[in-house]
């Protein structure tokens, strides 16, 4: 056990801190679920990429800097400590990219990853359908092979930021005779292709955070398939692992929230004093964020010693999503009657976060599904 950062890691931290202090927007950007906010976020992504900070763990030639996972944790810590903007292209950076690294051809990597790092390409995820949510294997959207292209028909839904994305990665049934997780293919679909209609869906916060995407005889080149035809389930499951595992939600995010909660408590100590449960909840927030951080460092250490992350990533998903809800509920209770006032500067970020936290146990595989996975794959209990 060695709990010191190397001189290189310390230097990297200092470099990131200094760069963010000089470059991070001084006033918060508008929500990326608005057109204007989206463009602001895209400009910020381009600036990050220009200085090699967009995707530090990727190889240099693909737009990264070949950094290790500890560097990534360090980068995230500095990023969140600096109150820098949310990452608008996280689907592309954190979900598609690891999949392409593993399953993509050299041409696909070269074609898509540098553009993704700069947010020239902005990605939507196309898995869910109206009748395929938790039961993703019941996907019916089709991609029927016709020579050097596929013809897509069907519908995806809940596709986050599809309104502003120009590409989608998704799962389609390429073998019409197949069922369940057989006969699916993983395709990269340009959202400006003819026959695609994107219809925004208003989310809980009143913004068009996700969208339905309709496909009518859409032609997609065979070159845009990731992995073998019919192997899409396998490819997609790898992405699902990345999503609920370490990458999507770095611990620094929750440490920042916990710190803000401690600060909130300290500012409102007097009002909070009459409710001992609030004090306890604030302490639990700090403990939870610390536990998540420690678990992440422990996981990274094990990865560096050659271990693989398996079904444990399901415990991660449950932990961060419930922690996030608990912390935001506590903030609501601390704010009391004021908590509903969306324009109150002290309330605004908490309220937005509270609404978004409601979705945490649902997206990226619901927490019930994660509990099934833990019981079946980690404990070996029989499938029903």
């Amino acid at each position: 056990m060695d709990l010191t950062y190397t001189p290189e890691q310390q230097a990297f931290r200092a470099e990131v801190r200094a760069w963010l202090a000089a470059h991070a927007p001084r006033t918060p950007l508008q929500s990326y679920d608005t057109r204007e906010g989206f463009e602001q976020h895209r400009a910020w992504e381009a600036e990050l990429a220009e200085h090699g900070y967009s995707a530090i763990t990727w190889p240099k030639e693909l737009g990264g800097r070949g950094a290790g996972l500890i560097d990534w944790l360090v980068f995230e810590e500095e990023y969140w400590a600096a109150d820098a903007p949310l990452r608008v292209n996280q689907n592309g950076l954190l979900l598609l990219a690891p999949t392409l690294m593993e399953f993509g051809t050299a041409e696909q990597k070269a074609r898509f990853l540098p553009r993704t790092a700069r947010c020239d390409d902005m990605w939507a995820q196309g898995w869910s359908e109206p009748n395929a949510g938790s039961d993703m294997a019941s996907i019916t959207s089709r991609a029927i092979r016709d020579g050097d292209h596929y013809v897509l028909n069907g519908q995806k839904t809940w596709s986050t930021r599809a309104l502003f994305a120009n590409w989608m990665f998704g799962l389609f049934r390429s073998d019409p005779e197949s069922s369940r997780h057989h006969g699916l293919s993983y395709l990269l679909v340009p959202l400006d292709a003819e026959g695609i209609t994107v219809r925004p869906i208003k989310a809980l916060n009143g913004k068009f955070a996700f969208a339905e995407v309709f496909f009518k005889d859409v032609h997609v080149s065979v070159e845009n398939r990731v992995g073998e035809e019919g192997q899409g389930w396998h490819v997609a499951m790898a992405t699902a692992g990345f999503e609920r595992g370490l990458l999507l939600r770095s611990p620094a995010r929750y440490q920042r929230t916990a710190k803000r909660l401690v600060e909130l408590y300290r500012r409102h100590r007097g009002e909070a004093a009459h409710d001992g449960t609030l004090r306890d909840a604030v302490l639990r927030a700090w403990m939870g964020a610390e536990a998540y951080t420690l678990s992440s460092y422990h996981t990274v250490a094990r990865l560096q010693h050659g271990a693989k992350i398996g079904a444990e990533s399901s415990t991660n998903k449950i932990f961060w999503s419930e922690l996030d809800l608990d912390m935001h509920e506590t903030a609501m209770h601390l704010l009391g009657a004021r908590a509903e006032l969306i324009d109150d500067p002290e309330v605004h970020e908490w309220l937005e976060g509270f609404l978004f936290a409601q979705a945490g146990p649902i997206y990226a595989g619901s927490n019930e599904i994660q509990r099934n996975i833990i019981a079946e794959r980690m404990l070996g209990l029989p499938k029903n």
């Binding site: 056990m1 920042r256 401690v262 700090w286 536990a291 444990e312």
Partner: protein
């Protein structure tokens, strides 16, 4: 930055685990616990042969000179196999106190080699605990005596104390009310010198109990998982029912996020970090809570079998329940966290980037 254990540390832990599996099986422990003294000299001797009692004793006194980080692994095995209190008190807490004495102090030479070879038991009387565990068999009691300017350390032979036994719901426990009189002969450290030693002992004890709690949680999870795979109702293993799966998945998750907290606390103690007490309290709270969750879920999964004396689950549940309030109850440890995080004049260093700073 490498927040995990070496292969050697893991190998030592595994060896100890195999040893307990054969030498301290539940039926053997039940037999020992039914005797009046509740302890087996033969087992203690074998434990010493495994090197466990030498682990935390400095090399100069014949020990292995390992520290809190190694103990953080070992203590989980003590929990997993429901080993009674005296082992950790003698083999971890007492060496910590004795090794805190100046080099060449007579007590070190007198007792530490005996800790190593397993020929003595040392009981610890700390102000946070109203009673003293395993005082009846102790060759030596290290007692705290709070005074105006701190907390004295006294080394009291068994003959100089009077004991009243306090039966516990946990059949492995042997708790005693200890009556004794501090005098100049028993005094080893004055209040000023003793206070930091007793504070460090409390932190180590919290780590040790936390580790046992995680071991207990893991054991109860394993027992319940086995039971869920074997027991059939409605023509299928109960482990195929989702409600049962989710009970156990919750235990997995809670353990998964408590263990690294334990390890961080161990490292903080080993390095004497300024916020080691906060880390130790966090570890104790997180681990003990995981153990209580495990007990609650495991008994539910066992149905009526879990409510019997016969089924071993009870041994582990009861230890989990009683250890929760040993070495500071939840209120005590939360108060320590609250003082540091919420009440301190200035905001402590928390947030992204501070966990290993």
């Amino acid at each position: 930055m490498d927040f995990t254990f070496t292969e050697d540390q893991i190998a030592f832990r595994d060896a100890v685990s195999r040893f307990f599996m054969t030498e301290a099986a539940p039926e053997q422990l039940r037999e020992v616990w039914e005797t009046g003294a509740g302890r087996s000299a033969a087992l203690r001797k074998k434990i010493a042969e495994q090197g466990l009692t030498a682990l935390s004793v400095p090399e100069a006194e014949g020990g292995l000179g390992m520290g809190d980080i190694d103990w953080a692994l070992m203590t989980q095995e003590l929990g997993y196999y429901a080993i009674p209190d005296s082992l950790a008190d003698t083999a971890y807490l007492a060496p910590g106190l004795l090794a805190g004495l100046p080099a060449g102090h007579a007590l070190r030479a007198q007792w530490l080699p005996r800790v190593v070879d397993g020929s003595c038991r040392i009981a610890i009387g700390h102000p946070v605990n109203p009673w003293v565990a395993d005082a009846h068999l102790a060759d030596l009691l290290l007692m705290a005596h709070p005074v105006a300017d701190g907390c004295e350390l006294h080394a009291v032979p068994r003959a100089k104390v009077e004991l009243t036994v306090l039966p516990s719901i946990d059949a492995s426990r042997r708790l005693f009310e200890v009556r004794w009189h501090p005098d100049t002969e028993t005094r080893v450290l004055d209040g000023v010198a003793g206070a930091p030693q007793w504070a460090a002992t409390l932190d180590r004890a919290a780590l040790n109990v936390g580790g046992q709690a995680i071991g207990l949680a893991q054991r109860m999870l394993d027992l319940a998982t086995d039971y869920a795979a074997q027991r059939k109702q409605f023509g299928k293993p109960i482990g195929s029912f989702q409600a049962i799966k989710h009970h156990l998945a919750d235990v997995v998750t809670e353990i998964e996020f408590a263990r690294p907290v334990l390890y961080r606390a161990a490292a903080a103690l080993a390095a004497g970090e300024p916020d080691a007490s906060v880390r130790a309290s966090h570890a104790k709270l997180a681990c003990a809570a995981a153990a209580w969750t495990a007990a609650r879920k495991a008994i539910q999964v066992h149905g009526a079998m879990g409510y019997t004396w016969e089924v071993d689950l009870q041994m582990f549940m009861k230890r989990a329940w009683v250890l929760d309030a040993a070495w500071g109850d939840r209120a005590f440890h939360r108060a320590r966290l609250g003082a540091a995080l919420l009440d301190a004049e200035t905001l402590p260093s928390i947030g992204p980037g501070t966990t290993f700073a």
